[in-house]
């Protein structure tokens, strides 16, 4: 260090600082997957996880949990979109099927995509979906109406204090989007 000329020292400092700059630029982007991981672990932001693909759950009969269903259209979405069963009561581990109704009232075909959110947020990680219409996009012909199913159960490890949870879907018009792949990740 002592023998280094001032110019060499300056260029060493600059190189190191530039590395920090590049690293922090990368860190900004690394926050995107990091955020998804943290959401997945903590249920932050009410995000539910993807398709449940482990062993069949065993119902625990001595607890009852109310699951409420909500539907809303995001701005600009013109479909009729409502849950067929606004509320069900289930035991943890009990597999249940419910459905939403969607109708395209327009004279042109459209593609919709439902995005889920759970309240309270911490309940999100205990809501397990075996099947869900939100796993794929939903094309509808003019005037077409469909019933869209969710097969789910509530994990038995859900904290005692949670007796009621709400699953809300926002429906987005993605007709003009080109979303690649059949399943969108981190659903």
């Amino acid at each position: 260090m002592r023998h280094e000329s001032p110019a060499a020292l300056t260029s060493r400092i600059v190189k190191r600082l530039l590395l920090v700059v590049v690293g922090m630029f990368g860190f900004g982007f690394a926050m995107v997957p990091l955020y998804d991981v943290i959401c997945d672990i903590t249920g932050l932001n009410g995000k539910t996880s993807g398709r449940y693909a482990e062993s069949e759950p065993v119902p625990v009969e001595d607890r009852k949990i109310t699951v409420q269903f909500m539907a809303q259209n995001s701005e600009g979405m013109s479909w009729y979109f409502e849950p067929n069963d606004p509320q069900v009561t289930v035991s943890p581990g009990e597999v249940k099927v419910v459905s939403y109704k969607a109708r395209n009232p327009n004279e042109f075909a459209m593609v919709g995509q439902a995005i889920p959110s759970v309240a309270p947020n911490e309940a999100a990680q205990y809501l397990m979906k075996l099947e869900c219409f939100c796993f794929q996009e939903q094309p509808l012909a003019p005037g077409e109406e469909v019933d869209m199913a969710i097969r789910f159960f509530v994990d038995e490890n859900i904290p005692e204090k949670i007796t009621k949870l709400t699953l809300s879907y926002s429906l987005f018009d993605i007709t003009d989007y080109e979303i690649s792949g059949d399943e969108i990740t981190a659903r």
Binding site: P6, L9, T10, I13, V14, L17, L18, V20, V21, V22, G23, M24, F25, G26, F27, G28, F29, M31, V32, Y35, C39, T42, G43, L44, N45, G46, K47, S74, Q113, I115, N121, E122, S170, F172, D173, I174, Y177, E178, I179, I184, T185, A186, R187
Partner: protein
């Protein structure tokens, strides 16, 4: 002027090219300071439009959309155009003179980092004249307001932010290299003036977070033009992610705007109290602690967005912890003044006003840190009052204090003390009449960023607007004082202020174009 006759040590070149091609830290410092003042007036003009519209309830002067453009542009111009460049200008002027260096370590990059700024702000301001209008999504540009629902001019905004970021990063690299590598023999780290210390730490903050800002606007660019879905829920993204990334930049950013102010105040108070700074070491450690804590409190801007209870508690306690090192600083300034032989020249008046009013802004920050209370205060005028108290009588007052303090060193003339004091008192009264009632408005529930409001808010808004016009108009006095001082006035001595300590005061006034081409006598370097 004790200019050497060696032909490497000539004076400034003549004409416009002097300023275009200059690599001299004093020239570049002046450019930054003048640019910052121009932006201060521009951002101030936007603020006057806001206050004029809010003068009475109802929509009188501007369309709501234009009102939103004004709040957005006011914030962006003041943060990135006025406050940050002013501190970089002060750093350019003072750091080499304070540590006994002949210039900044990377003088050519210094020229470049200044001269890209006018282009960034020209591009940003040009959006005002475009059909789609200027950015209208607030200075925090939350997605999807700034992506899905943004005016087309958002791309100009994105590139302007990229350029500002590049400028800040280059400036910071330069400052760090200068401080680490160009100190005169005998100027150990713990003998550096606090202004140098606070800027060194600020520069590290800038290097850590400006790339994150560049990253977040790049993601916006991709979402808008290339069909990605970083922040678009329909495509699997998450708008809340935007807020996390933005505030990871944004919270250190607010300390970037206040740490150099701490350095300025730590220089001025000892001079006019004629005592050494109380607790120099603790000041350094407090600054470093604040810088560290700034990285782990970002989500306190997002309490109402939704977070696990453990997260809300963590960010609440971490935020409150910042009051400890900040309190150390405030107590040290007060202890420095205690039993000092104080005089109240303009820089000292601004410095004392800083200590009092910044502390008030700090306390409202503590109130906002309390998570359950924040659910009430969030997005109200209470928040507006809080951050204007720390930024205007905080950061801006410190820049004005620094200007009055070092102006005789820069120009060689004393400024007009009577005008300076007039400027101070009008600003002091104006700023309080302007922002204090906004606390009441916020507690009563008036939301921020609205052009119209319910009738019960009328009186306090009326008072606030009067204060705003007074504060805005008084800033023209500063312009007069500076121009008068540049043109002439009583000759300043080298020492300028009786109690001033430090290497910059061993130089002639005005400071020669080239200084410390040979390092200063180590005997001149004292412990702080």
């Amino acid at each position: 002027m004790s200019a050497s006759h060696d032909d490497h040590h000539h004076g400034p070149a003549k004409g416009l090219t002097r300023w275009l091609y200059t690599t001299n830290h004093k020239d570049i410092g002046s450019l930054y300071l003048w640019f910052s003042f121009a932006m201060f007036l521009l951002g101030g003009t936007f603020a006057m439009v806001i206050r004029a519209e809010l003068f009475q309830p109802g929509l009188q002067l501007v369309e709501p959309n234009f009102f939103n453009q004004m709040t957005t542009m006011h914030g962006l111009v003041m943060v990135f155009g006025a406050v940050m460049p002013a501190f970089v200008g002060l750093a350019n002027w003072m750091i080499p003179m304070m540590i006994g260096a002949p210039d900044m370590a990377l003088p050519r990059m210094n020229n470049w980092s200044f001269w890209i700024l006018p282009f960034a702000f020209a591009m940003l301001s040009a959006t005002l004249f475009m059909e789609a209008g200027a950015p209208n999504f607030g200075w925090t540009f939350y997605a999807p307001l700034s992506t899905t629902y943004a005016p087309e001019t958002v791309t100009f905004f994105i590139f302007a932010v990229h350029i500002m970021g590049a400028s800040s990063i280059m400036g910071s690299i330069n400052i760090i290299a200068t401080v680490l590598n160009m100190r005169a023999p005998g100027m150990t780290l713990m003998k550096m003036p606090l202004f140098v210390w606070t800027w060194l730490i600020t520069a590290y903050l800038l290097i850590a977070v400006m790339p994150v800002l560049a990253g977040v606007v790049t993601m916006m660019l991709f979402d808008i033009h290339f069909g990605t879905s970083f922040f678009n829920a329909a495509g699997g993204g998450d708008p809340v992610l935007f807020q996390h990334v933005f505030w990871f930049f944004g919270h250190p950013e607010v300390y970037i705007m206040i740490l150099p102010a701490f350095g300025v105040i730590s220089a001025i108070i000892p001079t006019f109290a004629r005592k050494r700074l109380f607790g120099y070491d603790s000041m350094v450690y407090a600054t470093a602690s604040i810088a560290f804590l700034s990285f782990i409190v970002w989500a306190h801007h997002m309490f109402t967005v939704g977070m696990p209870i453990a997260g809300e508690l963590f960010f609440m306690y971490a935020t409150m912890l910042i009051a400890v090192p900040t309190g150390v600083k405030v107590f040290n300034w007060v202890a420095t003044m205690f039993r000092g032989s104080m005089t109240f020249e303009t820089p000292m008046l601004f410095a004392i006003a800083f200590v009092v009013l910044f502390t008030m802004g700090g306390f409202t920050g503590l109130m906002l840190a309390i998570t359950p209370a924040d659910f009430q205060y969030h997005d109200t005028y209470f928040v507006v009052a809080h951050f204007h108290y720390v930024l205007v009588p905080g950061a801006v007052f410190s820049i004005m204090a620094a200007t009055y303090y070092w102006l005789p060193k820069w120009t060689g003339h004393m400024y007009d003390e009577r005008l300076g004091k007039l400027h101070f008192w009008l600003s002091f009264i104006g700023v309080n009449v302007l922002f204090f009632p906004q606390h009441f408005l916020g507690l009563a529930g008036m939301p921020r960023r609205i052009p119209d409001y319910a009738l019960q808010f009328a009186d306090f808004n009326w008072i606030s607007s009067i204060g705003g016009f007074l504060f805005g108009a008084s800033q023209l006095i500063l312009l007069v004082v500076v121009i008068k001082c540049v043109k002439g006035g009583k000759k300043a001595t080298a020492q300028v202020w009786e109690g001033a300590q430090g290497l910059e005061w061993t130089l002639d006034s005005p400071a020669p174009y080239h200084t410390f081409t040979t390092p200063p006598d180590p005997k001149l370097i004292h412990a702080q």
